[in-house]
Subunit: 404 residues, 2 copies
Amino acid sequence: MSSLPTPSEQLQILRRGTDGIVPEEDLLKKLESSATTGRPLQVKLGLDPTAPDIHLGLAVVLRKLRQFQDLGHVATIIIGDFTAMIGDPSGKSLTRKQLSLDEVRDNARTYEEQYTKILDPAKTKVTFNSQWLGALSFHDVILLTAHVTVARVLERDDFANRLAQNRPLSLHELLYPISQAYDSVELRSDVELGGTDQRFNILMGRDLQREYGQEPQVALFTPLLVGLDGVQKMSKSLGNYVGVSEPAESQFAKLLSISDDLMPKYYELCTELPESMYAPLIAQLPMEAKKRLAVEVISYFHSPEAAQHARTEWERVHSQHQLPDEVPDVDVSRSQLQEGRIWVVSLVKALLSCGTNEARRHVQNKAVALEGAKVTEVDAQVELKGGEVLQVGRRHFGRIRLVD
Amino acid sequence: MSSLPTPSEQLQILRRGTDGIVPEEDLLKKLESSATTGRPLQVKLGLDPTAPDIHLGLAVVLRKLRQFQDLGHVATIIIGDFTAMIGDPSGKSLTRKQLSLDEVRDNARTYEEQYTKILDPAKTKVTFNSQWLGALSFHDVILLTAHVTVARVLERDDFANRLAQNRPLSLHELLYPISQAYDSVELRSDVELGGTDQRFNILMGRDLQREYGQEPQVALFTPLLVGLDGVQKMSKSLGNYVGVSEPAESQFAKLLSISDDLMPKYYELCTELPESMYAPLIAQLPMEAKKRLAVEVISYFHSPEAAQHARTEWERVHSQHQLPDEVPDVDVSRSQLQEGRIWVVSLVKALLSCGTNEARRHVQNKAVALEGAKVTEVDAQVELKGGEVLQVGRRHFGRIRLVD
């Protein structure tokens, strides 16, 4: 007897935090059939080999994949090395987009290092779609593309919009959805996961499997995580992301930078905590809620210890750097600058109105910071543009004002 | 010194009977450059391997190709064995359309037997586009299709119409124009000939050659010949065609069946005669004009002797079959019919009011015809529905009337 949850219980678990299961009743049927036959479901996730940094946004779907694994099913990650050749929206940088075999393998290795933080390596297959797509001839492509109508492909929003707005849409781009769909045929996948932006491509997989006489896969969509800026989806190219392999300290600082409004979504998609726990905390103690969110996330990707350490360190540095309500100006004559720089000891003397020796000692004692960065070399020439905050010890602050 | 016409004279000759040269000034430049360098122009004509019967409509463009040969240039016929796999409009009979290698070769042989009636075999290359298109991988197809936008392909009228009218248009069909265009790149063709229905595909060849850094080919369009019905373009599948390899007698009969209105177009496109010769003839002696048209066409594809013989034979048979202005009725009682048939001798007796022996003799002497078909067996039971014309000898006619 299996100790796994029943099919309905599995569905209950899998449904959490999704943005649609199409069709949900088919997922239940597949879970039931798997329970009866003992054959695990084949769960597909396609990843782009051009951006090997896994961030919190991608972790949302990977954690969903992990749930399938924990329920006894098999995950296959398809590295879209072949489809990546088609990927560029404008069609102009096609050549630039092409990766060498070595780059693709490097990226795949990088993925592997990262996804093992989330997935069960023993239940994860990684495969490249160049393996089958790269073997197709023009003749095969004709037979493949005969299975789908132009009208169907042009239903994809971005295609339709670009056509309607007379923005360039290259013919080769129409081959993307069907290539991606063919991966599902090749894999005979039962379920495909993806962000809501993959809706069209994943449903095309269903169509194509049906054309090839296979039982169509179930599409399970996960929501797109909004990036740290609170506006666009989290993505590496937009710089609004938290990488799962980033140091705990960096993750902590980034997560503390999000607006309060974003917290509920981040709790929902990046932690396992129930709403009944985080909602009151956010309402009553938003700063504490944000720190706990960061601790929760870091605990998952690193460890609870690393998370706690990141919090302590952040608080120490942050309180140390806290500026008093009023920071007095420190006048520095431009004539003292050489090529925009000044000796750090002269700066300290200006702030404290002390002698050279005392100023030197503060630097040697690592008590001096300019714009929050320690200056510990007594010979250091620091660059000034005016407006920088100079700090000596815990209590002495001054804002540089350049005067003639 | 070459004895060929000058480039401007060549252009003059080539322009006759065309339906557009795009762009005409480029053709002149190419002819001039060819005259200077001595390098003949590479002239392309694509043919479909699924319909190996060459008819008068196709002969129009083949004769234009022959003109290029006579002016010293090289003709390449591309048998679209690969593109034929894409060709079906509805995308449903894709499998049915696929020809075996043997069939393609058979068809090519059939073409060869026919086009030598028109082209100069020594200056004609025949090649199959499967030779290069069949060697392309999916990767190659992506690079190829990246050169053209979806908007550009959907400018093709039939594509645009089918999309607009929600009629099926399969994705693979969009690959046709670009595949055909790639033939021009492969061939580095200077000129491509085609019917006006090939306008889009041939111009796509120009675009693609430019993308591949080649000097774009000139498109030379020939008008579509209207079929014998005077309504639709001549095509084998519509049955309104005259095959170039048909027997002279059959060609003669078919050409005599066209309406008077069609004659000027047929003279223009199927003969070399100037309008000043045929226009007055048509106006004054339409029947004679039609016979001379047939003689002209048959002389080209067979020989002047064969043409004259066909004319004499047609006139002999035709005048023999000519009905008098009034044909008297011959009453036949339905009770004489057995399963709708009657003994031929009884029929003759009814017409001539003669005895059985005399009637038998007429049949034996091959003097009896029903609906123009000789009946020579004295035992023959002929089928009657009423209204048939019975003829005995040169002068006796009667129209059967069935009576109760």
